[in-house]
Amino acid sequence: MGSKSINSESGRAMSEAGYRFIKEIGKGGYGYVYLFNRRRSGERNDDYVAGKFVYRHIFGPSDDRASGAAYQRALEGLQNFRSLSGESPYLLRVFDVRQRHGEGYFCYMMELADDMESGRRINPRVYRPRTLKNELERFGHRRRLPARKCIDIARGLARGLQILHEAGFTHRDVRPSNIIFVNDVPKLADFDLLAGHDAALTSYIPRTYAAPEGSHSSQADIFSFGKTLYEMCTGFPVKDFPCLPPDIRHWEDHSTLLKINKIIARACARDLRKRYASAEHLLNDLAGI
């Protein structure tokens, strides 16, 4: 399906610009993510990157103003994110943005996630991106991560969120499939919905992760972050939130999990006054464990 969903124009364009299309590796609400090879002169090793293509037609008919505005917002989200992506190791690095509106899309290149099995040793034939979602479903069934690992990942992501929020943006779609690992470092990715704190904008975050008041604020991101942390440390799907595994008391990291549970409770409080007011507060509590 990969080569079918990339049109011939963009395929040629990417080749001319020094990227060799390999295959499709992901699909989002607005476009596709492909694996590309970037071989620089003088370098012996292959350099792989991910390229995201966002297509105008996915938003709606070309004469529809509302879908045109949504397409523009996705582009703005990307530009906003690009200005921040170098600010923190916990935000995915984005480069080489190309606006090809005449051909009905825009695209950009970004760091490639580790491979699920071989990390940075990428074998394009069997490559599978290491997202948090894939990590939680690694061996064909759901599993949890050890409490220590959860804290390490959570601290990194909270720091990434803090930078986004302090710059005035909301991610709007924090969930395991949008968190990837690069060199084993967790990073917030998929920022198509990134925007200022504007309640009028639509978000497509699944209801199970969405804050009850909507996804337009930094506190809503914290709510979704709490749900993600819940999945990480219990291994339960988010629909089971907030139930705990009945045998949790026998787990060796039980006492640490109880501390994380308190943080999840505050991150996922339905009452905004009881929820963390900022990612900084959340980060402080995570650091305190």
Partner: protein, 219 residues
């Protein structure tokens, strides 16, 4: 009992006219109704000895009957509740499945041969379950579906810590001491938290039943 002010954010509360909507042919109301009831009709079919496919047919056929005849259902305490009406429909559709098997011997599966008791009864008799058992079975499945829905509503209204205690204590049936160890609190706190949630779950159950059985009060 203190009356609870309706909360527009609550899915079920925004649909107190569920049956009224189904009567009007409202697609959204119908989808909600289907989701709620198919969860209990299918297991009732399986428990009555039907196969997966046959039980799915029972769901489809029962829903078609409800859709066609919902306007004839008049909620009346003397004549019967909505649950009783629906139970009769499900019972008949299960009986239909057994009759079809008799008519098509090649498809007949003798996993549950008719009992002596049922062999002498009416054509509507289910081979291996008498009507009382089937009534109990269907009621049980319906109550389970309502309880699941009530818990899912309560989950949105209570503190996370309270629901965790309730789930481990009441749903998973761990002892208060085991839950206390699991959550790092005292057994007394476990009981208090679980009780707090149970009250809300019970209130939700009452509300759902009222909504299902007295649609006119809401419509």
């Amino acid at each position: 009992m203190r009356r609870v002010k309706p909360d527009p954010a609550d899915t079920l509360r925004t649909r107190p006219t569920l049956l009224s909507k189904v009567r009007r042919g409202d697609e959204d109301g119908w989808s909600r109704f289907y989701a709620l009831y198919s969860d209990f009709i299918y297991p009732a079919g399986r428990a009555a000895g039907l196969s997966h496919e046959e039980s799915k047919d029972v769901v489809q056929e029962a829903m078609v009957t409800v859709r066609n005849y919902i306007n004839r259902f008049v909620p009346d305490e003397n004549r019967g509740r909505f649950r009783t009406w629906l139970r009769k429909i499900v019972q008949s559709r299960i009986a239909d499945q057994y009759r079809n098997k008799k008519r098509n011997p090649l498809e007949r599966v003798d996993r549950h041969p008719p009992s002596e008791d049922s062999a002498t009864s009416t054509t509507n008799r289910i081979p291996d379950l008498n009507e009382v058992e089937l009534d109990r079975l269907i009621d049980g499945k319906l109550e389970q579906a309502i309880l699941t829905e009530a818990r899912s509503q309560a989950r949105k209204k209570v503190r996370m810590e309270d629901y965790q205690a309730y789930d481990l204590f009441e749903v998973r049936e761990l002892s208060a001491r085991e839950v206390a160890t699991s959550l790092g609190i005292s057994p007394v706190t476990v009981r208090v938290r679980a009780f707090r949630v149970r009250r809300i779950v019970e209130r939700e159950v009452r509300r759902i039943l009222k909504m299902l059985e007295q649609p006119n009060r809401f419509g």
